[in-house]
Symmetry: C2
């Protein structure tokens, strides 16, 4: 896994697991890979994994069962709330940053549309190769 060296790895691991849950790769009640296995998969130390999981357990999004494993909470509402929170965080940061770069609301929306449109073209090109 590729990490951005500007933000703590344990923090990026949290976001990685969040995303796995949001996309359904990890469903409510699912068992996570063993911490030692995760450490190998992410080419990272066990303690770093543990730190990420520890925080998520505190948040109530994961549940730990000693000797068995770590599991995604069965509380689906909690996951829904989390997704909403993560989306909102992205929106806030994105808007704030582009606004700080002196773009108007309209320019922000337009630039996103244009970016997505161009991206679509690139995808088409890749598919046709």
């Amino acid at each position: 896994m590729k990490f951005d060296d500007k933000v703590p790895i344990y923090y990026q691991i949290k976001n990685y697991l969040y995303h796995e849950m949001m996309t359904g790769a990890l469903k409510p009640g699912d068992k996570l890979p063993a911490v030692r296995q995760l450490a190998v998969d992410l080419t990272v130390n066990v303690n770093t994994v543990q730190r990420a999981l520890g925080e998520m357990i505190t948040e109530g999004i994961l549940e730990s069962q000693r000797g068995k494993g770590n599991f995604v909470t069965m509380d689906e509402e909690r996951i829904t709330q989390l997704k909403g929170k993560l989306v909102m965080e992205q929106l806030e940061r994105f808007y704030e940053q582009l606004h700080a770069l002196n773009l108007t609301d309209e320019q922000i929306i337009d630039s996103l549309k244009q970016y997505i449109a161009q991206r679509g073209q690139q995808d088409d090109q890749r598919l046709s190769n």
Copy 2:
């Protein structure tokens, strides 16, 4: 100045100065505040300021004149390119993150529109108080 403790301060200072240039608060040829003054303003150490400025000088966006001060480059093209690069970085990260959260292109655009619309309402409320 408030810093996000998840990313290096020198890095956040760079972004702060970038934004000052994008908004026109710092124009081509302008002299920056003295490094010691910046350190006071940002409640940060001189070395930390120097590290941020040093990188921007390497990038060619700032020019240093020993004994005189640090100046924004006169090369306006360079600033325009920088703005484009910064906007593109935000777009890429935003899209990637929301896509990873399993939102479709349409949902991404809609959520942004909705966010901006709601934001406008909040602004209106503040203005009427």
